[in-house]
Symmetry: D3
Subunit: 131 residues, 6 copies
């Protein structure tokens, strides 16, 4: 659902343009996604989000495709269509397979089901879990 | 937040008792968590959820700790305290490390932040993402 | 999780006290729940919510227990423990059975699962549904 | 918001095609909705969801239109547009009236309002509710 | 994502038409938004929501643009695109600046991140906060 | 709901201790809240969240109490009890009045109600809002 202006590179503020340059280099793409062009309306917000995303999503104790699957799982649970579409693409680009995506989405559904049972049945946290 | 009766093994319906036996065997624990004792109020719901959980969470294209991290990430995003506590314990038992948990929770926070920007900035899905 | 002051009848503002009287009469109970005693910190909010609740929850095209099951289903999906506990009690008082509660909670889990698939698979609304 | 490929019957895997046949027979429709054509990308996920949906949504202690209203209420609260559109259609097909839909949606709004007050005012669960 | 019929003024029920007249006068606009035309399918729901919105959103202890920013923040966190688009417009009309919008959206992202940490780290409420 | 270890100052890692020192100085309190003691399990996550919180919550185009009200509104909508309790306290400390809190919580309830109607009635974004 489009609303609000998309800021193209040519008309972007210098701070936003620098972020666009960095994204294009990091991802090896000729242009950034609409999400970034929209966020370029507020260059400081855009820059801070991009810096944070780069830091959090780089491989560490978890590898890159696993990180993308976790990001995607949260976005699906949260009902964000744009985020689901763009992070499915990123997850595949970083090596996630169709079989892994299928298993991930069933875990999301199961977790939401299980969470609702926890809400309804209303149990206290077990002593053994408090550790 | 405790409310509703916990059903102990001795007083559980046969269908619930069979599930409890199966959980104890599968997890190598002497007793099931409160969540299951509460759900034993509705043995058919309990059985169907357990069967589904077993099937979805078994290792496949994704390994067991990764599956638990995804389940946990959704539960955190969803604000379910009981689920966070119990699936943190399960994730550790299946091999997830403290470093992996720390990275996972930052991805959850980043995803929620990114989802909120997608909501606000309101962009259409890029042609390249429609595949 | 308790925080914030509970306002007992004796110390409540006249506007809050009138709402408490009305709730006690409508529900045939000697005292109101903690939720109302907490909300009595802001008598005008309390009064407006009670008036709206009375109007919306009275039997109409849907009968009283069905209305309570719908309210409860939303509260479970939303992860509100207090709301789950209090509206389970109200639903039973108005005639909902344990079997109906068990079926309702499975529908909540199914709907959350189905909603997550709709997010992930990203389909347009069918022409036939646009009516 | 469309993204991802829709799998038509002719190109679907045998497992997905069998589900499509079953849906068409169960609902008396010439073709399945986009949601199912998208989910056909992962035939095993699709089959398990359809089997579960059939079992959970069949009339029992709650009749069919009441079950659809509960499913719909959760989908609305959850902000799932596709789910709202498709389950409004299903609810009407199974006998829900426009007046019942109007009452249901006001209960959803009321429940969300009430849930937010429970969050803010922060009360403990009453002894009488712990049952 | 459009579905369901939009009711134009000429074909609206008298109760819905009266609400439309009131909205047009209150906002100084020649026609109401699609949201109201869709809600006109249920005139009583529409009227009650409009009356409540007018009362809650009028300037009081908080001024009009601050109230709109709060409404908008909740809508963003909730992932409601239509609501984000329409309440961004309302907030600007009532005097909110682009800088205020940028700060607001970062607070939403921060709050969602912080909420997820509260879920994961699972702390009790401090005595000092119980007031 | 408590679970997981609270890390007191004496046993905290140097990185976590430095954050605790900074929070105590910034807020003029003798000790940090439980939320920070729990987050001290992962010092790097804690430090990054604190730095981000400081930057986002400092007065700018919006003043400090307004920023706290927005943070609080999102936390209420999101059902986070700990967050509601702690940010109510922060909002009051920064100058928010009880009357402003009462108005804010009604806006949250109204926004959630309005969001649910947008989901159900399913309208497209108006041309005038696309700007």
């Amino acid at each position: 659902m489009s609303y609000g202006k998309l800021i193209e590179y040519a008309e972007a503020a210098p701070e936003a343009r620098a972020v666009m340059d960095d994204i294009k280099a990091a991802r090896g793409v000729p242009d950034v996604n609409n999400a970034w062009k929209a966020m370029a309306r507020h260059p400081a917000v855009m820059r801070r989000f991009w810096e944070r995303a780069k830091a959090v999503m780089q491989p560490g104790a978890l590898d890159a495709p696993t990180k993308e699957l976790i990001y995607l799982a949260v976005s699906i649970a949260n009902g964000c269509h744009y985020c689901s579409a763009s992070h499915t693409a990123l997850a595949k680009k970083k090596g996630a397979t169709e079989e892994q995506l299928a298993e991930m989405v069933e875990i999301v559904g199961l977790a939401l089901e299980g969470n609702s049972y926890a809400s309804f049945y209303g149990q206290d946290i077990d002593e053994a879990l408090k550790g």
